[in-house]
Amino acid sequence: MAIAYPVEESIATKRWRAGWGHVPLFPSLILIALVLTAVLAASLAPHSPTDADITRKLVPPVWMQRGTWEYPLGTDRFGRDVLSRVIYGSQISLVVSLLVIGVAGTIGTLVGLIAGYRGGISDAILMRLTDIGLSLPTVLIAVVLVAVSEPSFRNVILVISLLLWPRFARQIRGETLAIKQQDFVALAVVSGRSNTWIISRHIFPNVMPTLLVICTLQVGYVILLEGSLSFLGVGVPPPNPAWGLMIADGRGFLATAWWMSLFPGLSMLLTVLAVNLLGDWLRDRLDPKLRQV
């Protein structure tokens, strides 16, 4: 006769639940706003981001003299609406960071899992590759690589991914080494599991929290890097409204038409700040030492 015992929620579960109630407000609001902006860009933007008209160039923001509601944040030197460009720019930042995290995260995680689990010679080779990757001067290499190929959306993503995967690989490998030592992995071997199964079923789920934290913390870095590359003219090619490109555009007008650079810069700042704050919070929440309780 089986008696149904009430299953009590453990402290860890309770903490976890309580934790979701404490998602930091500021970064989440910024990020929600960013995602909504990117998704609804077409209906939010008052103008086309690439629609140039030299006759209305350098219109200042609405609260200044000569400012008009037609162009709330002013226009740039080609007469394009800064607000619309900032709005569309969010799409680029978001898509680039998601794709890069996707590509670099997948490569890095696979490398880390394999190196950590197999050990020996595979570990040595993969980790030396990772070391090389980590020792490359990021921006410099990106500039060279993109300069050799031509600037395009795809190249930017590939280049940044190429430079980012070692960060994933290193962390995931460390985590894998720790999990591999646990008895349940040995027992899985005893019960006749293949290595692939053990990695995907026993190791991977246990590195997920770490992976999530790295992903979040790297998003800010990717956005900054993409901004830097665009600023240097080797990133997303014009006339795409990338934030870094817009800042570069306004560089020569900082004294007279500062709004051209200020607003994309501000957007980038807020986004990166929000992502990093969220990443920090997530790291605290998912810290294995806190979870163990």
Binding site: A4, V7, F184, S191, R193, P205
Partner: protein
């Protein structure tokens, strides 16, 4: 007795670790046999090679430092040490299962109990849906896990240590192995839970006829659970025999010393006895009998030559120069 193979025969197993300090002979010529339905207790101090023996049987010795350098492990007449990794994988899942010491790390914290039991059952029995679920619940019931249906959706951290140990045993037993290697399964459990757990293990054994290798350093557990005992010292089996023989006529000084260490009921006011000295450094074994430096009955020959096996009585062997056949 049919003249067939014993379920498990280990012959002259040698597992060495190659360290910076030299070669550590963790298992040095271990031989024993085990029949279906029997329990063999491996007893000995920490570092005597009990666990490494177990790991060698399933070829899980941590490489590259450790290596099985010699001997044979015959499971139903087939040498496991000669099998390819793929063949070995099949054997491990189907015929051999393992329960380890620490129930805290023997379950995957990221998956529910249900998922973990189900995966093993599905792998080895190829069942589906309802049949699979029934089999899983049956496996949990067999280890007396209360409210098995409700437990399916819990995570390991929600269970107590004893419950986790039962779940890992349920997983181990769910594919009806021939051989269960239990490496100090009760060390991390409360004394009351220990007895309960071992009782369950005996029940399952009676039910399935599984042979058990029980690693322990607790003679109480040995007396209650084992059919045969192998006493290990410095990587060697120094004495082996039926549990009755070992307790009645221990013939190796080490076994005698171990038994003297047990607190007796009638000797309540006496302080506990200990074995003087330290276990030897396995990287630098003395010549002759490794126990000689600590042995109260040491003779000159002991430090020169390792003693040959002495048949004390049928089925009872001791490696000691002082051992003599018991006249029956």
């Amino acid at each position: 007795m049919p003249a067939s193979f014993p379920l498990l025969a280990v012959e002259d197993l040698q597992t060495y670790f190659y360290t910076r300090r030299g070669v550590v002979k963790a298992v040095d010529g271990v031989s024993f046999t085990l029949e279906a339905g029997q329990t063999l207790a491996l007893v000995g101090e920490s570092g005597s090679g009990k666990s490494v023996t177990c790991l060698s049987l399933v070829r899980l010795v941590p490489e590259p430092a450790g290596r099985i350098v010699g001997g044979r492990v015959l499971l139903q007449g087939e040498d496991l040490l000669r099998k390819s990794p793929a063949e070995m994988r099949r054997v491990r899942g189907k015929h051999i299962a393992m329960v380890l010491q620490d129930p805290m790390t023997s379950l995957n914290p990221a998956l529910t109990i249900g998922v973990q039991v189900t995966e093993v059952v599905r792998l080895h029995q190829g069942l589906r849906r309802t049949a699979l679920r029934d089999r899983v619940i049956e496996a949990l019931h067999r280890l007396r896990i209360p409210g098995a249906e409700a437990r399916l959706h819990t995570y390991p951290h929600q269970l107590s240590g004893g419950m986790r140990q039962r779940v890992s045993s349920a997983i181990a037993m769910s594919c009806t192995p021939r051989l269960l290697i239990a490496d100090e399964p009760t060390t991390a459990l409360d004394v009351t839970i220990q007895a309960q757990y071992l009782e369950l293990l005996r029940e399952v054994q009676a039910h399935t006829g599984v042979a058990i290798i029980l690693v322990t350093h607790d003679f109480g557990i040995v007396a209650a659970n084992a059919d045969r005992v192998a006493v290990m010292y410095a990587g060697k089996i120094v004495e082996t025999g039926s549990t009755l023989h070992i307790f009645d006529t221990p013939s190796h000084p080490y076994t005698q010393a171990l038994l003297r260490c047990l607190p007796g009921v009638e000797l309540q006011r006496q302080s506990l006895v200990e074995i003087g000295g330290q276990p030897p450094d396995l990287a630098h074994l003395p010549s002759g009998c490794p126990f000689a430096p600590r042995c109260p009955q040491r003779q000159p020959i002991c430090t020169e030559t390792y003693p040959p096996p002495v048949l004390v009585e049928p089925g009872h062997v001791a490696h000691c120069w002082t051992a003599t056949a018991v006249s029956v």
